[in-house]
Every structure is written in C-alpha cells, then in structure tokens.
C-alpha cells in the first residue's frame, strides 16, 4: 500500500472536554526517518501514546493502519508485538541490573520454563554489536553513561524485532558526541530496514537526519515536509511550529549597564566524599551586576556542581577557597543562607528537584520566600494569591487558574513557574541551569525576554547551558568548563562555537 508502513488517519483524542488531538493525519513511509516536531503541548506525546496503545483502542477516534491493516491496540504489549517500540526521554532501565538482563527483561530467552542465561548473554552481545556499543554485557546499567544507556534501550528494542522505532527526544540528555553517535546509529538502522520516528526539539538534528518531518501545532497536523524536495530548513520548521516567523530567537538588550562585581570565587575547590574525588578544582570566577555570564561545557564538566557549591552546598561537598558576595567573604551553611544573600538557583531538573509537582502554582511560586507574605509565621492568604497572580502574569504562565496543579502544566509553563518562584525571592544573582531544556521555541523566547528584563532591572544572571546557540546568543561573557576546571573565559565578541567546543573538549 503506497509504501507507507504507518498511517494514522483522522486521529482525535479529548481529555475531559479539551481536545488534545483533532483529526491528525500522520503517515510514515517504510524505511525512513520521520521527525515529529511541535511546541510543547502540540500533541506529539499524545499522538505517540495513541500509537503505542497507552491510550487503548476506543478511547480515541480515527484509524491506525500499520503495514496495511487496521490495528486495535488495547495495551502497550499489543503494539510491541506488532513491532512498534517506543523509547521515552526518561529511560526505562533498571540501574541495578546488568546490561543483558535489561535488554531481555520482559522478553526472557527461555529453555522450558527457566531463563537460559548463557543464551541471553550471547544474544545480548549480538544486539550490542548492532547498536555499536562496546561494553561487557555483565556491566551494571547504572555504571554506564546516559549516552550508552540510551544505546542499551535501543538494543532492547531491537531484541523485540522492532519494525518501527519511536524515540522521544533521544538526545535531550546527551552531549554533542553522544548525540552524533545516536543519529549515526539511526542511519545504520535505517539501512537495516528499520523505520524510525523521532520527536525532537533540536532543529539541527532534524535537518541533518530527517527524510520527512511532520509539524504539529495545537493538536493539528500543520504540514509534512520532505527532505528530498528540500523543504526541511530551520526557517520552514520554525515558521510552521509557531505559526509566525521568528527573525531572531535571541532578543537583543538595548543597552548594557555593567556594574560592580557581585559574586566572586577564588581558588574554589569542592571534594565529594560520595564520589571520592574533586568535582571542582581551583576555580576563579566572577559575575558583575547587570551581566549575563554563560557557562558552557559538556555533561559532567562540573557546571551544576559549581552552581550547587555556591548555593549553600546542598550536596555537602568539602569546600576550599573563597566565596565573596559584593566583596564580603561568606560561608553558607544551608541553601537558606545563600538565598538570604540574594542568590537564587533555578535547577536543571525542574520536575526532580525544582518544583512541588502535586501542589498548585500559587504554593510553588511562594515556596522559597513564604515569610514575604506571612506575618509572624501566619500566612496572609489574600496577599499570597495577589502576589502570585502578579507573577503568573509577568511570567506569561498559561494556566486556567493559580490553583492548577503544577504537574499538569507543559514543560515551558513549569519552567516559568520555577523562574517565578525564584524571582519571588527578590534575588540579586540568578543562576539558571539549562533554563530552556525541553521547552518549545515560543516559551524559550519568552524566557529570554524575561532574562533581558531582569538584567535591565540590575539583576545578574549566571546561565549554564548545553546549547551553544543560547550561550552565544544571550551571554555577555562566557566561561567554559571541563572536568571540574575552568578552561577559559571568553568575552562574547571573541566567543564562537569552535573555540568553545575546543576548550570544552580539552
């Protein structure tokens, strides 16, 4: 049938009255790499959940045609049996089990009723070879890097005779090298006849790898772009994603007013007893009033550790060296001391350690500075709601009310709540750790706008980011870290992708 391995026709799905998908058409040709793109909340994940049987047949409208026949998946194992395997952004591996156990979990190689471990290991080796992963299958998964864990996931999918592989933002947590490897592997798998669907926010990847790309917006199919017709370009994708042209994703600040040094680290080292090594070594660093300082570096280069070490040291590193705030040496015993000194830290992992997901927007915004709306320890609820409303407005948080649970918001809105929570503290210095990871272009733009606004009000920002474009587009000065050391400091005029990557990989 016309070369399509998968046809999703007129798919509609509603959640308690809200249409998440309306009449979506999505067609994937056999043997291609098809990218699915859209802002957060556009319906990509919902569509993939319909496809994989998370939402069983009958809870949505429309047809799924796979290899020419209409499918009725009632549960995930139905779709797996048909050859459709989905790999989520949050990996579904068991860290304390070995690689081979992970590959065949739920799909054990048996002799009679017992597991045949020798055969399992032999098969696992074959799978690992196919994904180009050179590790002993008896290694525990927790001892592998995230990039390698991802490959284990793919090996696991291959062991199930996958025909259609779906990857949900596979490179979001990977550094550039690992990302490149992964994309190369997808190309290899394509040669072996495996069709892939990849959800991604990274447009460069999409451009480099996709045969076709389908753009979703507000639960509708906007268009399907074909690489062979030269339709896949950054401009085309962004235009279709947001429904408007974005001339410049990094808004410019009108004028820079850089003042005195607000924070300074001298010969700063941190030793982790847990890891039994130094996570930071002899770092000199400073931030001035009114500037955005970018910190670039690969995963594990010590950027987050640096942020934590100056934010009250919640990981209990053994610290050495000098930390000065506005010229005065300080020792923070607890995060609350750092907050009192005017430092705020917006975490990288907003779901894990940034937000209170089961609580509402209001409680999250005021959480770090409740005394602001309290008198002698008693909360003034009216004042609290009033203040939280202001932040909801100024942060462009899209939600029906302040009482909405934060866990139900989209990634971009969660990030804005997280940002709002820290601005409510009234900081002088804001540390942003991967401020735009996993959020869509529109929300990114809003966050950059907020950052510029804050700078113009005299705040200072440290921005840790793995997106070089963002570092170059937003910073006034760039530091590059690798292996817990400061490898270089570049004024923005001299910084470019090449010299940053060179320092980062030293």
């Amino acid at each position: 049938m016309s070369g399509y391995i998968l046809e999703m026709n007129e798919i509609s799905k509603a959640f308690t009255g809200v249409k998440a998908l309306s009449n979506v058409n999505f067609k994937v040709r056999k043997g291609e790499i098809h990218c699915l793109i859209g802002e957060n909340g556009a319906g990509k994940s919902t569509l993939m959940k319909v496809l994989s049987g998370v939402y069983p047949y009958g809870t949505y409208e429309g047809d799924i045609v796979f290899e020419g026949s209409v499918q009725q998946f009632n549960k995930i194992s139905d779709s797996v049996q048909t050859g459709i395997v989905i790999i989520y952004q949050e990996l579904a591996l068991f860290p304390d089990l070995t690689v081979y156990e992970n590959i065949f979990v739920g799909n054990e190689v048996k002799r009679g009723n017992l597991v045949d471990w020798n055969q399992t290991i032999a098969e696992a080796k074959k799978m690992l070879k196919r994904v180009g992963l050179d590790v002993n299958p008896e290694t525990l998964v927790k001892d592998l890097s995230v990039g390698k864990q991802q490959l284990v996931e793919i090996a696991k999918a291959l062991s199930k005779d996958v025909k259609l592989l779906i990857l949900d933002e596979p490179t979001a947590a990977l550094n550039e090298d690992d990302s490149e490897n992964l994309l190369k592997l997808l190309g290899e798998l394509k040669k072996q006849g495996i069709t892939s669907i990849m959800i991604s926010h990274k447009l460069k990847e999409v451009i480099s790898i996709a045969d076709q790309a389908t753009v979703l917006r507000d639960g509708k199919t906007i268009c399907t772009l074909d690489a062979s017709k030269g339709e896949i370009s950054e401009n085309m994708i962004i235009k279709n994603m947001v429904g408007r042209d974005i001339d410049d994703i990094y808004p410019k600040r009108p004028h820079k007013k850089i003042g005195k040094t607000i924070l300074e680290l001298n010969n700063w080292s941190a030793y982790s007893t847990e890891l039994a090594r130094h996570v930071l070594k002899n770092i000199d660093f400073h931030v001035k009033k009114g500037e955005i300082v970018g910190i670039a570096g690969l995963m594990g280069s010590g950027r987050t550790e640096l942020a934590l070490s100056m934010f009250g040291n919640p990981k209990n590193y053994k610290l050495e060296g000098q930390l000065k705030v506005s010229g005065v040496e300080k020792t923070f015993k607890h995060t609350s001391d750092a907050i009192k000194s005017g430092i705020a830290y917006v975490t990288e992992d907003r779901k894990g350690d940034g937000l209170f997901l089961i609580q509402d927007i209001k409680n999250n915004i005021t959480a770090a500075n409740l005394n602001e709306v309290a008198d002698k320890g008693i909360i003034n609820e009216n004042e609290e709601v009033k203040r939280a409303t202001e932040y909801k407005r100024s942060m462009y948080i899209k939600a029906s009310s302040l009482e909405q649970t934060v866990g139900n918001l989209s990634g971009g809105n969660q990030q804005k709540v997280s940002l709002g929570k820290w601005l409510f503290v009234g900081p002088k210095l804001l540390i942003l750790d991967e401020p735009t990871r996993g959020i869509d272009v529109g929300a990114k733009f809003e966050i950059y706008t907020i950052m510029n606004q804050l700078i113009s009000e005299g705040m200072s920002i440290i921005m840790i980011s793995s997106e070089l474009g963002e570092v170059l587009g937003m910073s006034d000065r760039v530091y590059v870290m690798a292996e817990g050391r400061m490898k270089g400091e570049l004024p923005i005029e001299e910084a470019n992708q090449e010299n940053i990557m060179q320092l980062a990989t030293q």
Binding site: F311, G312, P314, H334, T335, S336, A338, I339, Y345, T347, G352, D353, G354, L355, F356, L357, I358, Q359, N363, A367, A368, N369, L370, N371, A374, G377, I378, I379, E381, N382, V385, K386, S401, G407, N408, K421
Partner: protein, 391 residues
C-alpha cells in the same frame, strides 16, 4: 439548573473529602437502623468519642509524619510507657497533676526529637528507627510496671481527663447549659469565619461558590454541630476528652493550613530535594514533625491512662497501627505531601464507629478485625481510584 451543575462540579472536584463524610454518614445511619437508634443515643456517641480520643490525637500526628514520607511505629508503646510514668509520678512521687502533665508532654517531645535525630541526622529509615523504639518502649513499659503490675491512680483531677465532663452550670430541659453554649459559640464562630473569608475573597476578586451553595454549606455544617451538641448535652455534656481532641484538631488544622511551618511540612513531603533547594531546612522540619508526634503520643498516653484510671502492662498495644489506619482512612498518601488533619480525625471516628456499632450488634472480635481491615482497604482503594481520575 445552574445551581445543580455547580453542586455537581463541586462534588466531582472534592469527591475524596466528601467521600469520607459520606462514608461516616452511611456507617452511622446503618448502625442506627440496625440497632433501633441505640447507636445514635447520647450515651453511645459520648462513649464513642471518648474512646476515640487517644487514637485520634495519635492519628493527627501520624498524618504529618506520613505527609513527610516517614512512619512512626514507636508511638503506641511510647504512649503506654509515658502513661505509666505519669501514673508513677502521680502515685509514687506524689506530684500534682499540673506538674505531671507538662513533664510527660516534655518527655514525649524529647522521645520524638530523638527519633527525629536518628532519622534526619543519621539517615536511619524511619521504619527501622521507630521499630527499634517500639521494642524499647515495650520493654521500658514492662520494666516500670514489673514490680507493681497495674498501677491504680486515685487522683480525681487526672482521672477526669478521660472520664469527666465539663461543668454544666445549669440543666435546661435535661440539657447541659455550658455544652449548649459552647456548641452555639462554635456555630457562630464557624459562620463568622466562613463569611469573613468569603468577603475577603470577593474583595480580591477570587472565585467563590455561589450564594446558594454557600448558604447550604453553612446551614448543613451548623446543623451537624448543633445535632452533635444536642446529643452530647443530653447525656453529660462535652467530656474533657472531646474538648482536648477538638483543641488538638483546631490547633493542628491552623498550623497546617495557615502557617509558614505548615506549608513547609507539605513542601518537604511533596519534594524533599526541591524543598532543600528552596531554602527549607528539611532536617528541622523532620525534628518538628517527630517532636510533635512524640508530644501527641504523650497526650495519648495521658488520655488512655486517665480513661482506665490506671497504667497497665499492655497499654499502648497496637495504638500505632490504629493511628496509621485512621490516617489512611482519612486520606493521607504514603507518596508524601497529601493528607489533612481533619481527615485523620474523621478517619479515627470512622474506625471507632465501626467498633462501637459492631459491639452493639454483638459481632465477634474476629469478624470485627476483618471488617475493619476491609474498610481500610476500601478507603485507600477509593483514594487511589479518585486520584487517578483527577490526574
């Protein structure tokens, strides 16, 4: 029509909270019918509430412990042990009540803080740390009562805590006046606080329920308070136990819903890492919650000892599990961050009503345990299902 729609959405959004009250209502109604009204008699309700007291105060503390993702198994025997110490202080040492009670409460806080220290500072899992405490206090209770066996308390003031009633001032038509006045005052206070909250909300232009629903709520709650007051006033009036229980609930309800400390407790429960990074001292919160649990265990010990007018060698057996059951029936979630103090009290009353009703019906102890177990599972199951629907 609009009115019915609004009522329907309200019920849908708050099904878990309402469900508990509905369950209590159904249980009470069923037993009333099956016992020809004996269950709802003044005497029975008064007894029921008095026998709930020492579990209810534990359930309040336990709710907070579970909210911050811990558990405390030591409270049962800690209560038993502290009750025995109270008895010894009163009888052997001849200390007066007004000295004994603060001393016991302080001891309770101290025990709780010690648990907190093991759990927060030394990172011993709360299950293990408090299991050890349970064994230790069981031993300690046996040790202090070993020579004397049951210690009989003859102090009238102390015994009044578990058995006495507030003075009546005057009997009007067979009803106790002071209890009636207290009931009336609480209704007035309730109506006043609801109206002022609503007025404030309107002032700040927040959503409020429509006037019709609001009036119905006021009338309904007031009627319940009036009915309970009337029932109790018809027997001996409010007992000291009920008054203490109400004070604990009001204090903890205020603490958990209106204060910074309360908000921090729920923050720690819903995400400890995020709480730490938000400048909240997680260890300090752990100490406070366990300290309060210890104090409530002491209070529970006082209530129970006073009710029996003696300290026994087995006092406190299984209190901790009854308290945990009451907290779960009351809607606390072991995933942390969810659970109300008022729920814990209702949970305790539900469990006590089951016991009381089945006792009146002459149901055997074996069946009683099984039925209470079933109700516990049903309550948590209901919780899980309604949570899933909303999420």
């Amino acid at each position: 029509m609009e009115f019915i729609n609004e009522a329907r959405t309200l019920v849908k959004e708050n099904i878990r909270d309402y469900g508990m009250y509905i369950a209590l209502f159904v249980i009470m109604l069923t037993f009333s019918i099956m016992t020809d009204g004996l269950f709802m008699s003044s005497r029975n309700i008064s007894n029921l509430l008095d026998s709930t007291g020492y579990i209810a105060v534990l359930a309040v503390g336990m709710t907070l412990v579970i909210v911050i993702r811990h558990i405390d198994l030591s409270v049962g025997f800690a209560a038993g042990f502290l009750g025995a110490i109270a008895a010894i202080l009163l009888t052997k040492m001849g200390l007066p009540v007004y000295v004994t009670i603060p001393v016991i409460l302080m001891l309770g806080i101290f025990i709780g803080l010690f648990n907190g220290l093991l759990i927060a500072k030394y990172a011993i899992p709360s299950f293990v740390a408090t299991l050890a405490g349970m064994l230790i206090f069981r031993g300690a209770l046996l040790q202090v009562t070993e020579k004397t066996g049951t210690i009989i308390i003859k102090d009238d003031a102390f015994n009044a805590i578990g058995n006495g009633f507030i003075p009546s001032l005057m009997i009007v038509n067979g009803l106790h006046l002071l209890s009636l006045i207290l009931g009336l005052l609480s209704i007035l206070f309730y109506i006043y606080s609801e109206i002022s909250t609503r007025r404030n909300k309107i002032k700040y232009q927040f959503d409020v329920v429509s006037k019709g629903i609001f009036t119905i709520k006021l009338v309904f709650v007031s009627a319940i308070i009036a009915y309970v007051t009337w029932i109790l006033a018809g027997y001996n009036g409010f007992s000291w136990t009920v008054v203490i229980m109400l004070l604990v609930v009001v204090a903890y309800h205020f603490l958990t819903t209106k204060t910074v400390l309360g908000r921090h407790i729920y923050a720690v429960g819903s995400n400890p890492e995020a709480a730490h990074l938000s400048g909240i001292n997680v260890n300090k919160i752990t100490y406070m919650v366990f300290g309060s649990m210890g104090m409530l265990a002491a209070l529970s010990g006082i209530l129970f000892t006073s009710r029996l007018q003696s300290a026994t060698t087995t006092a406190g057996t299984l209190f901790e599990l009854d308290a945990i059951a009451a907290a779960y029936v009351g809607g606390v979630s072991s995933a942390g961050g969810v659970g109300k103090v008022t729920g814990a009290i209702i949970g305790a009353i539900v469990m006590a009503s089951l016991s009381s009703g089945m006792n009146l019906l002459g149901v055997g102890v074996s069946m009683q345990y099984m039925i209470r177990g079933g109700v516990l599972v049903a309550a948590v199951l209901f919780d899980v299902i309604t949570r899933k629907k909303r999420g």
